[in-house]
């Protein structure tokens, strides 16, 4: 049983209320940080902890914090990215819904570290009920002197505002989020300048994921070095994984990144195995935009080593034989699932969510969707598969923001690993409408070159 840092108290009766949260040891980190530490010390502590951004890219959080520009007399801002819209990812929702004070606590400490007197939580519009929970928590924290003017008598002022999005995946991209927060159309900005130099209203800004900011609390409480001892290598601390798909126990799990993928899927503590006694076919280990992996490459790397649930091991082999930790949306597909249909469904999502600003993503996502629809309906040609490959190659890396990459990677990985299933959809078009390709050889042991 791994250690739990974030969700340990999540199921204590009444933990949503300030009194219970405080009784369970909440807001200790605020007292410690504001009274005994300087902002630089907090940043240093977060750096030491090796905490990596939990939103998807896995960029070291302490490093990101140290990049923020500090011009004289210009206010700085911290923005919490709660626009969790990646298909398959629902960990932040769980955290905000069950233990909202943990996020508020993390936000106060982080705001102090970054010198932000006005901190924003940008939450996706579809989470219609969560802003109320957060605002309730903010009001309670304020009533108890942890927010507002002169927090705990230290002279530090901080306000937290909750801003709702209007239902756009693209607003989870940090510069699009900033635009949307400013009340404009959520188009990603062209970088540079990065938000750390020019963010909200042209002021230095740090945008962090909900889970990242919540993780600051145990880091301050226990110290960065202690936190870094949990986990393995550069994957320190615990990570929330939202598991869904054909598994017995879908839900949010906190893991300490030392367990293997196999254990995560099959152990009763986590996913509890594949539902209905089926066999594992494929898995998207980090939210819809990371490459899909067939069962054999998921459980073992191309070198024949066991694959673990951490940043390095999941990306072992690059995109050729690996994937990414991403945002922790673990989507499991059993042998009855059709990879072509799954890929089409993702392509449709990205087509719908492309902001339409830059041409490769705007036009390419729609084109891929149409081709995949045709393949799925059994009207495709075998040249369509090569065409898809070429389109994704021309989108990837040529766009303003990572949405283009996110749209290209799932298609690329599906073709890379499941090409015969695509070809079967062309060669056995009529049959493909009545049954699925099945498990085929996707769980067979892979040949490991000596």
């Amino acid at each position: 049983m791994g250690r739990k840092l974030l969700l340990e108290k999540a199921h204590v009766e009444g933990i949503r209320s300030f009194e219970v949260y405080r009784r369970e040891g909440g807001y200790r980190s605020v007292e410690k940080a504001l009274k005994t530490m300087s902002p630089e010390e907090i940043v240093e502590e977060v750096k030491k902890s090796g905490l990596r951004g939990r939103g998807g890219a896995g960029f070291p959080a302490g490093m990101k914090w140290s990049f923020i520009a500090k011009p004289e007399g210009v206010p700085r801002h911290l923005v919490c990215n709660a626009d969790e819209s990646e298909p398959g990812t629902f960990k932040d929702r769980y955290l905000m819904e069950f233990i909202p004070h943990l996020l508020i606590e993390g936000l106060i400490v982080s705001s102090f570290a970054l010198g932000s007197n006005a901190t924003y939580i940008y939450i996706r519009g579809e989470y219609a009920w969560i802003p109320d929970i957060l605002e309730q928590a903010i009001a309670e924290a304020k009533a108890n002197g942890f927010l507002g003017k002169n927090i705990l008598g230290t002279g530090f002022d901080c306000e937290i505002y909750v801003q709702r999005g209007a239902g756009a995946y693209i607003c989870g991209e940090e510069t699009a989020l900033i635009e949307s927060l400013e009340g404009k159309r959520g188009n990603p900005r062209i970088k540079p300048p990065f938000p750390a130099i020019k963010g909200v209203w042209g002021r230095p800004t740090v945008v962090n994921n909900v889970e990242t900011l919540a993780s600051v609390v145990p880091i301050i409480n226990e110290g960065g070095e202690e936190y870094a001892k949990i986990g393995v290598g550069k994957s320190t601390g615990t990570k929330l994984i939202s598991a869904c798909g054909n598994i017995n126990k879908p839900g949010v799990f906190e893991i300490d990144m030392t367990i293997s993928v196999e254990e995560f899927i099959y152990s009763d503590e986590y996913c509890g195995g594949i539902a209905n006694g089926k066999r594992l076919k494929a898995c998207i280990p980090g939210g819809s935009s990371v490459p899909i992996l067939p069962a054999n490459l998921l459980l073992k790397t191309a070198k024949g080593e066991t694959r673990y649930m951490n940043y390095e091991s999941l990306s072992d082999g690059g995109f050729a034989t690996g994937s990414m930790m991403g945002s922790g949306g673990f989507i499991v597909l059993d042998e009855d699932q059709c990879v072509v249909r799954n890929t089409y469904s993702l392509a449709r999502f990205y087509r719908h969510e492309s902001c339409g600003q830059c041409s490769p993503c705007r036009e390419g996502t729609g084109w891929m969707e149409k081709l995949l629809y045709r393949l799925e309906k059994g009207e495709g040609k075998s040249s369509d598969i090569d065409l898809l490959w070429d389109i994704q190659r021309k989108i990837e890396g040529n766009t303003i923001c990572p949405l283009g990459d996110a749209a290209a990677w799932p298609v690329a990985a599906a073709i890379r690993h499941f090409r015969d299933e695509f070809e079967w959809h062309v060669s056995h078009a009529a049959e493909a409408q009545t049954r699925n390709f099945g498990l085929a050889h996707y769980a067979d042991p892979i040949h490991v070159p000596a």
């Binding site: 041409s359 036009e363 021309k394 766009t399």
Partner: protein
Amino acid sequence: MSDTTLFKVTIDNISIDVPAGTTILNAARMIGGDVAPPAMCYYSKLEGSGGKCRTCLVEVSKGSEKDPRPMPKLVASCRTTVMDGMEVKNITSPKVVDARAGIVEFLLLNHPLDCPICDQAGECHLQDLSYEHGKEGTRYEFQRRTFKKHDLGKYIQLHMTRCILCYRCVFAADQLTGKREHGILDRGDHSEIATMIEKNLQNDFIGNVIDVCPVGALTDKTFRFKNRVWFLKPMNAHRDCPTCSGKVTLWNRGEEVFRVTARKDQWGEVEEWICNECRFEKKLSSDWTIEGPRLIDRHSVISQGHYAGTVGTNMPTETIEAVLNGRKPKLLMDIHEVSEVNRPHIELSKINGPAHSNNFNPDND
């Protein structure tokens, strides 16, 4: 300002010293010729433009003298500033040429290619771009997206189907008129330029959105379907205008002034913005003092006859009926559906020679 610092940048093996803060695109334009990457959305006179169309992607093979690492991805040259000692590959990089061909294909994906009835044909940046950087065919086999026609007032026609969403007109309207005139509705490939909701664009300088539009999405209603641009003779002219500089280009055929536009430089960018009165109202030679013929530096592929020899080798096999879903129009597209100028009862095929505005003059009915 410390603008006196000069950075040495090498683009396609040609070196030039440019002031710090110059973008790669502008440095390349200083060199000129084929070295300058094409730009569909960047407009030097519009703040914030650029970075969207991705046609100006270049490869940075050496970051700078201090940090010689190459940049991992192709960068948009219109929004990337030069560093000292930077080495850039434009047309010498196969990666760039390939990526650009892909971008052209993407831009043309949903473009109707109705050049035969489009007023922009002959001075269309997308035509030039696809001729210079594209492939001869598309691999797109699906229905193209279309839009309903929006009415933007008595001067400007918005033909959203042709739009490549460069955002230039949005920037132009924002920056020239001081108040937000129009914007983008929706997302992705169904996003569109629109006024909220179906309002007119009304401002003294709003006509300039026609000049900044790289394609035929925004056209001049006083000129629509009157003449092809390559039959017209551009003349520099000016008048004493109370609102703008009054320096324009007249497009004449014989004595008749067909249209008035702002003067454009060799990159197709407006030199000085002109007002609506000059552009739309003054269509008589007597309104203007003619200075002399205007040299158009950046020749269109059509006016140069560049298309010769490209047709015929790769003829499409589909019939027109197949392309048009079984419709059999006499013309490739029924012009009466899109034109307010033409009289529906005038049979275009009955007119001798090229159609002239006189043919559509109500007096001749």
